[in-house]
C-alpha cells in the first residue's frame, strides 16, 4: 500500500526542473482534490447515520412528551386519538425478541453446520457453488418469504406446533397462545421463516471465519490421529467460536428489523402477549409498517417514529458489537 504522497518521489531526473515543478504542483492539487472528494463521500455516510438518529428523535420527542402511558412498560399502543396518546413498547419488544430468538435458535446450528461442511468437507470446487446456492436465499425478496411462510409453510408447521404444545405445554414458551394454532400466523411460524431468511448471512460470515482456521492447528490434530470430526471439534469450532457468535448477532440484527414478511405472517392479537411462541402480535417493524398508510398527523406518527428509534438503537448496538468481534477475528 503506497501511503502518503507518492508524487514526492525524490529521485527524478533534474533535467527540466521548471516543467517538473509545475507538473508536481498540478498533480499535488489534483491529488488533494481527489482525496477531498473521496473523503467527502465517506463522511456523507457517517453524517447519514447521525441524521437518522437526529431526525427520528426530533419527531419522536413531542409524541413521547404527550404520551399518557409509560413508554417502556406499557403494552398498549393507542394512537387513534391524537390528544390522548397512550403507547408503550413492551409488547412490541416481547414479540420482536421472541421471534428473533426463535429464528436464531433454529438458524444458528444449521448455519454453522453448513459453514463447517463448506469449509472442511465439501470439495474446494463445489464449495463455491454450494456457497452461492445458500447466498441465493438472501436474494429472495422478503415479501415472497412472507407469502410462502403464511400460505405454504404455516399449514405444514401446524401439526408440529400442536405436538410441541401438547408435550411441552408446561414450558411458558409453548403455552397456548392468544391466536389459534390453525392457519399459523403465530410467533413460531414467523421465527421459522426468519430463520430461513437469516441463514445466508450467518453462514457466510461463519464460513469466512472457519476458513481462517490455521492449517498448522488442523495438521497438528491430524498428526495426533484425529478423525475428521475430531479435527472440526478440536480446531475449527474453538477457533471460530467468537466469529460464529458475531455471525449470529448479525443474523439477530437482520431478524430484529425484518418488516414485511412478519407483517404478512403474524396475526394481530387483541390481548397483551405473555411470552408464548404461539402468540400473535406485532414486532417493532411490523407495527410501524402496518400503520404506514395513516401517517398524517404529527403526534400519532411520532409514536411510531419513537418505536422506530428504539428499533434503530437496538439494531445499531447488535450490529456494532457483532462487527467489532468480526473485525477482530478477521484481522487476527
Amino acid at each position: 500500500m503506497a501511503q502518503g504522497s507518492p508524487t514526492q518521489s525524490p529521485d527524478r531526473t533534474q533535467a527540466t526542473p521548471a516543467l517538473r515543478a509545475r507538473d508536481g504542483a498540478a498533480a499535488r492539487r489534483g491529488d488533494r482534490l481527489f482525496e477531498l472528494a473521496a473523503a467527502a463521500a465517506g463522511s456523507t455516510i457517517v453524517i447519514a447515520i447521525l441524521l437518522i438518529a437526529i431526525f427520528l428523535l426530533i419527531h419522536a420527542i413531542p409524541s413521547l412528551r404527550a404520551n399518557h402511558a409509560n413508554f417502556f412498560t406499557s403494552a398498549q399502543f393507542n394512537t387513534t386519538d391524537g390528544n390522548h396518546l397512550a403507547f408503550g413498547i413492551r409488547d412490541l419488544f416481547m414479540v420482536t425478541a421472541l421471534s428473533s430468538l426463535c429464528a436464531l435458535a433454529l438458524a444458528v446450528p444449521v448455519a454453522i453446520g453448513i459453514a463447517v461442511f463448506l469449509t472442511q468437507y465439501a470439495p474446494a470446487r463445489l464449495s463455491r457453488f454450494f456457497g452461492a446456492l445458500v447466498d441465493l436465499l438472501a436474494a429472495v425478496p422478503s415479501i415472497i418469504f412472507g407469502l410462502w411462510g403464511i400460505f405454504v409453510l404455516a399449514p405444514q408447521l401446524e401439526p408440529f406446533e400442536t405436538m410441541l404444545h401438547r408435550h411441552l405445554g408446561w414450558i411458558f414458551l409453548f403455552k397456548a397462545g392468544d391466536v389459534s394454532l390453525a392457519g399459523g400466523g403465530n410467533i413460531f411460524t414467523a421465527g421459522a421463516v426468519l430463520a430461513v431468511m437469516i441463514l445466508p448471512i450467518i453462514t457466510s460470515v461463519s464460513r469466512e471465519v472457519f476458513r481462517q482456521t490455521p492449517t498448522t492447528h488442523i495438521e497438528a490434530a491430524q498428526a495426533l490421529g484425529a478423525t475428521k470430526w475430531e479435527v472440526v471439534r478440536m480446531t475449527v469450532l474453538p477457533f471460530g467460536r467468537s466469529g460464529a457468535a458475531a455471525a449470529s448477532m448479525l443474523g439477530l440484527g437482520r431478524a430484529l428489523g425484518e418488516t414485511v414478511a412478519i407483517l404478512i405472517i403474524l396475526r394481530a392479537s387483541a390481548n397483551a402477549g405473555h411470552w408464548s411462541l404461539f402468540d400473535g402480535g406485532y414486532t417493532f417493524a411490523s407495527k410501524i409498517a402496518s400503520a404506514a398508510s395513516e401517517f398524517s398527523e404529527a403526534l400519532p406518527t411520532g409514536a411510531y417514529i419513537s418505536a422506530g428509534f428504539v428499533l434503530f438503537v437496538l439494531t445499531f448496538i447488535v450490529n456494532a458489537v457483532a462487527r467489532a468481534i468480526v473485525g477482530r477475528v478477521v484481522d487476527r
Binding site: A2, T7, S9, A27, G30, F34, E35, A38, A39, A40, A41, G42, T44, I45, V46, A48, I49, I52, F55, L56, I58, P109, A111, I112, G113, I114, V116, F117, Q120, Y121, F130, V134, L137, A139, V140, S142, I143, I144, L147, W148, V152, L199, G253, L256, G257, E258, T259, V260, I264, I288, A289, A292, S293, G308, L311, T315, F316, N319, R323, G327
Partner: protein, 271 residues
C-alpha cells in the same frame, strides 16, 4: 453426514419456495397483457390486465436510487480502499458495516421524517428512491471496496514509479481493472433493493395505473402490488399476488444474470 444434511436443510426452503412461486404464478405471467397492461379499470374480482405499471415502478425507483447511490458509494469505496490509513476511513468502514444492518423500515421512517415531515414534500416514488439509496449504499461500498483491494499493489507502485500522481493512478489503472467486479456489485445491489417493501409502504401510495412521474403522485411497484392484492379475497387476487411474486423473482433473476454476464464480458474484453 451431519454437516451435509444441514446443507440440505438450507436448500429445501429455497427449492420449495421457488417451486411454489413458479407453480402458482405461472398462469398469471403467461396471460396476454400481463407484461404490457396495467390494472387500470380492472375490477378486483376480474382477472385481466397486468403488472406493467408495477414493473415500471420497481425498475424506476431502483434505477433512480442507483443513480444517487453509485457515485457516492463508489467514491466512498475508493476512499476506504485507497486511503485506508486515514482515521476517518477506519471510522467510515465501521459505519458502513452498521449501515448494512439498518432495517429497511427505519430507513423508510427516516426519509419520512426528513423528506415528508420536515421538508414538507408529498409522498412520491422519489422518496422511496431516497430510502433505497440508504439500503443500497453499504452493498455498493462493500463490493467496490473488495474489488479495489484485489488489484495488485505492484501495478500501483509501477504507476507511481513512472511519476503518475495518485489520483490518476487510481482512476486510470486501479479502477479500470476493478471495473467488472464493481459493475456486478452495483447490479446485485439493485437486485437487492427491488424487493424492498417497507419503503414503498411508508413513502408512496399504490396506484392501479401507470404513473411515469417520479416526483408526484402514487406509483405502483411489484412488492406494493403484492401487498395490496393480499387484501383481495377473490381468486383474481390470488392469481395476481402469485403472478406478481413470480414477476418479481423473474426481474430480480434477470438483473442477477445481467450482472454475471456484464462482469464476464468486461473481464474478457480486457484480456
Amino acid at each position: 453426514m451431519l454437516f451435509l444434511s444441514s446443507f440440505a436443510i438450507a436448500l429445501i426452503p429455497l427449492a420449495w419456495l421457488l417451486w411454489v412461486v413458479v407453480a402458482r404464478g405461472w398462469y398469471a405471467v403467461t396471460q396476454p397483457g400481463w407484461w404490457s397492461h396495467s390494472l387500470r379499470g380492472v375490477l378486483p374480482e376480474q382477472f385481466s390486465g397486468g403488472v406493467y405499471h408495477a414493473v415500471y415502478g420497481t425498475l424506476a425507483q431502483a434505477g433512480v436510487a442507483a443513480m444517487l447511490a453509485v457515485p457516492l458509494g463508489f467514491m466512498t469505496a475508493v476512499y476506504l480502499a485507497e486511503y485506508r490509513s486515514r482515521r476517518l476511513a477506519q471510522f467510515t468502514t465501521f459505519i458502513v458495516d452498521v449501515l448494512a444492518g439498518l432495517p429497511s423500515i427505519v430507513a423508510a421512517l427516516f426519509i419520512f421524517s426528513l423528506w415528508i415531515a420536515t421538508l414538507g414534500f408529498h409522498q412520491s416514488a422519489f422518496a422511496v428512491s431516497l430510502a433505497l439509496v440508504l439500503l443500497m449504499l453499504p452493498v455498493v461500498v462493500r463490493s467496490s471496496e473488495e474489488m479495489l483491494k484485489l488489484v495488485p499493489h505492484e501495478l500501483r507502485e509501477a504507476s507511481y514509479a513512472l511519476g503518475v500522481s495518485k489520483w490518476k493512478t487510481i482512476m486510470r489503472i486501479v479502477v479500470p481493472i476493478a471495473m467488472p467486479g464493481i459493475v456486478s456489485g452495483v447490479l446485485l445491489s439493485i437486485a437487492r433493493v427491488m424487493g424492498e417493501t417497507a419503503p414503498v409502504l411508508v413513502l408512496v401510495g399504490y396506484s392501479r395505473s401507470i404513473n411515469f412521474n417520479l416526483f408526484d403522485g402514487n406509483m405502483a411497484s411489484l412488492p406494493l402490488l403484492i401487498y395490496t392484492e393480499l387484501d383481495n379475497p377473490e381468486h383474481a387476487g390470488f392469481l395476481r399476488v402469485w403472478g406478481a411474486a413470480l414477476t418479481l423473482v423473474i426481474v430480480v433473476a434477470a438483473v442477477y444474470l445481467v450482472a454475471a454476464a456484464a462482469s464476464r464480458i468486461m473481464a474478457r474484453r480486457r484480456r
